[in-house]
Symmetry: C2
Subunit: 522 residues, 2 copies
């Protein structure tokens, strides 16, 4: 057994089932080992951002890490943006980055680069086994570190000679790790009691929830607290995974702009935070605050990110709202719209037709503001949002979610500008036969940047004539792109066309793409 | 004048003419300033790897740096792979990376990341002005650092508040930099004389040239030395820019594999290196050496990378071959092939039809081995190769080269696997109306990795059935991709079709793409 086999068998034995891969020469022994390791599936991405974004989507749905396989520093670089997003989503990932043999590096060959430094920018652990005998230990440690709550990006750098060298019997003895997150540490009951006192005090209170509290149990606890105390509940702006739809409590999300959040939290004397961070402006604007807790309000952190926020919130609900039942949304769908597709009407088509048990990936940016309300009564589904703010994760997230849950329909709602960064994710969807319906909202502009222009007062020139914010000239043909990557595709210019195409796409197996032509929003 | 305007005017005043851009919110004041800065052209890329690869191609042809505009750490990450390639090509580049205001960063908003650490992995200088008044100084310094021989990747991080704040009169006083490389330091004449002595000694000698020696003056000096002393001359494997074609001296390139290079250098008692590094294996292989200088041979560095290698080689030629004229290739083209397109025949079509004064970008990997010989007598042209070994630079390089030299035809010879990483470069070609003929060699596999598999002995499974090395299923339709991005395209399956399509593409203005279907090579 060589080092490459030792690594992949150790991970597979622990329950890691998938390796999203874009290999090169230094990873070929790992490619060979992937072919022969029972229980390990390899999924090829044609670009590393697809690989890393897919690992994020997989982790969010499977609740355990996938591995990635990346080619030296440049491969890690291409994957870095979506690893940033994964870090912000607290998704556990085990990166395997191939490298030159240690003895070869001092010769500074063309692909030599500083992998450690780049990997460390992700603030997760970085390991480099010195020999094949040490691989198993480092694999076990890397997996354990990835699984540390709330989830880490852990990187294992595999020198090629470590991959190709014979090691000692690699799976004998030692810990047998499991690819299952450790329980998050519980919150001190005294801290929960102190926050219960705040709620009993009767002053205006806002409760901001996120992270694991976005799942059903957390939403129910939040609803009980709201109903029992009058606290207003808000969901963090961008969540890793939220359960949504009829029969579940529904809460508004905090807005994107500082003034929106300050308006939402206006009047609150207390802001309680559970499972997420204190509200902060996504971007800074001249003369706007960074921290969005209203002046004079006190902040109370019920559960830090990584702590057992659902347990703490449930305990809090038992203290302040014993016997209280949660309020849930009635199942129901919006009426099917007709005529032109706009930012108001296209989400209603989704709300009217969303299939049972769907996973919705939302990278709609400026075009998707109507989606949460339009789908609030739809059949229960999961929503995966972009947590790190780096564009280009939606299509890869859909890949990973569909690999993790092959029986669930995945709907990727995707802005045109975002889609292009990682467009070859469509090819991986086609190769793997993934049940993904990609909906591309094409407004032929970086509309969010035109909107931001006004918020920033960015200059005297006109954002609508600025070539850097315009995606027309030439117009991008997403139908053509999809077909070229092997994905059946169609274009919708009316609600009726969109409804017909969407209904078909979600019932046929394999991926589909629908290009929805909408007017610019800003 | 705000900080953004101060930065762009300082660069434009110095002669920086182009900013390849993929901006986000933190760069909007820079977007505004790009719109109003005389003499500065902005070129949009839909992915940051297009932006950074284009800046590399621009620098190689224009001989001076372009700026890039990137969005925080994730944008730099997406651009990192082609910045690695640019670093290996010794291309000067001024990266402008937007960031949150300094006061906003401690709140750890979603897009906060460690930009400095990632930028420093490129081994170039990194600056961050503290206020708008300091922008001009940092811009001048960054530009000067980028221009330090042999060329650096210099990064300027612009906090958004520095961009939007009013500074002092920004272009008053101080140095007036010029975007022109400083002369490379001369080699000590005594060192040249010592190497002349080696050549006069009459022992078998190999001369390995690269970097600036790949241009006409260097090639002529190398030829004189070869003819005057019997030394064998080799070009480095991958050069930033080589002048090639009829009327110029021609030398074989060092091979990719260690055994090839050791065979080429076999028997040499001395290896002289000028303008490049001592030959090193691109990748390591079990039981193969890293350093490819034959055992027992002495290495003599005539000029380090960054020194005036052309001057040193010319002085050496004057010492050892006074009065000797260089040997040049006869102008002439290979006969036009007929029938099937193979790795032998497709390069002959290029050789037969290459237009005058072309720039050839070569990212053909395993499919392009016949190109240098097929084009050796073609009209004089420049060849830009991939110096850093990270796939996905060819199409962006073509963008940058075409922006730098709008009157020259650019021919991008591109492997299928490489093309996908940065495929949206086609859109930028279309938007800017660039005269690029993209030739995609489609063998539907990562053929180089199948070849490498055999060299590495990577495992018992079959590389030809390994899904991670196979790009079929589904086949990628490059004609469809090109048209979807606004580039006219066609497919060639015979030499006759390729010849007809290529002839048309190079005469019509604007970009074209030809998908050449070839059998796998390995």
């Amino acid at each position: 057994m060589n080092g490459a086999e030792s690594l992949l068998r150790t991970l597979a034995d622990a329950g890691v089932e998938v390796c999203f891969s874009n290999p090169g020469t230094t990873e070929l022994h790992l490619v060979g080992a992937l072919d022969t390791t029972p229980g390990m599936r390899s999924v090829l991405g044609l670009f590393e951002g697809v690989v890393t974004g897919a690992a994020d989507g997989y982790a969010r749905i499977a609740g355990k890490p996938a591995a990635t396989l990346l080619h030296l520093g440049p491969g890690l670089g291409h994957g870095l943006s979506n690893l940033h997003n994964a870090r912000r989503a607290n998704s556990p990932i085990v990166n395997i980055v191939g490298d030159h043999p240690t003895y070869h590096k001092p010769f500074d060959p063309p692909l030599e680069s500083d992998i450690e430094t780049v990997a460390r920018s992700l603030r997760g652990p970085v390991r480099r086994p010195e020999n094949a005998a040490g691989v198993r230990h480092d694999a076990v440690s890397t997996l354990a570190e990835a699984l540390e709550p709330p989830g880490q990006i852990a990187t294992l750098i595999m020198p090629a000679d470590v991959s190709w060298s014979d090691g000692v019997a690699a799976d004998s003895g030692g810990d047998r790790p499991e690819a299952r997150p450790r329980p998050a540490p519980a919150v001190n009951p005294a801290a929960i009691e102190r926050i219960a006192e705040v709620l009993r005090g009767g002053e205006q209170t806002a409760l901001v929830i996120g992270g694991p509290v976005g799942r059903a149990a957390g939403l129910r606890a939040a609803s009980r607290i709201a109903d029992g105390t009058g606290a207003r509940v808000f969901l963090e702006t961008y969540s890793s995974r939220v359960e949504h739809g009829g029969g579940l409590p529904w809460f508004p999300r905090l807005g994107f702009y500082p003034d929106q959040v300050l308006g939402q939290l206006h009047g609150a004397r207390h802001v309680i935070v559970a499972g997420t961070t204190v509200p902060v402006a996504f971007f800074a604007y001249p003369d706007k605050p960074s921290c969005l807790v209203p002046d004079g309000a006190q902040t109370h952190v019920l559960a830090e990110v990584g702590q057992d926020a659902v347990g703490a919130l449930t305990a809090l609900a038992d203290l302040v709202a014993p016997g209280q039942e949660p309020t849930v949304t009635e199942p129901g769908r919006p009426p099917m719209p007709a005529g032109a597709l706009t930012v108001e009407t296209w989400p209603a088509v989704i709300g009217a037709l969303l299939p049972e048990h769907a996973i919705v990936v939302d990278e709609t940016i400026s075009s998707g503001i109507g989606v949460p309300v339009a789908t609030a009564g739809a059949p229960r589904h999961d929503v995966l949002a972009m947590c790190g703010g780096a564009m280009g994760e939606g299509l890869p997230l859909a890949v990973g979610a569909a690999v993790a849950a092959p029986d669930r329909p995945v709907i990727a709602l995707e802005a045109d500008g975002c889609a292009i960064y990682t467009i070859s994710a469509l090819w991986t969807q086609a190769r793997e036969g993934l049940n993904v319906t990609n909906v591309i909202l094409n407004n032929r502009s970086y509309a969010i940047l035109r909107e931001e222009w006004h918020h920033l007062g960015a200059g005297s020139s006109n954002p609508h004539t600025n070539k850097l914010l315009d995606l027309s000239g030439p117009d991008i043909d997403f139908v053509g792109l999809a077909r070229a990557f092997g994905v059946p595709a169609s274009r919708a210019t009316t609600a009726e066309e969109f409804a017909e195409q969407f209904s078909r796409a979600v019932t046929e197996p394999g991926p589909h793409l629908i290009e929805v032509i909408i007017p610019p929003t800003a």
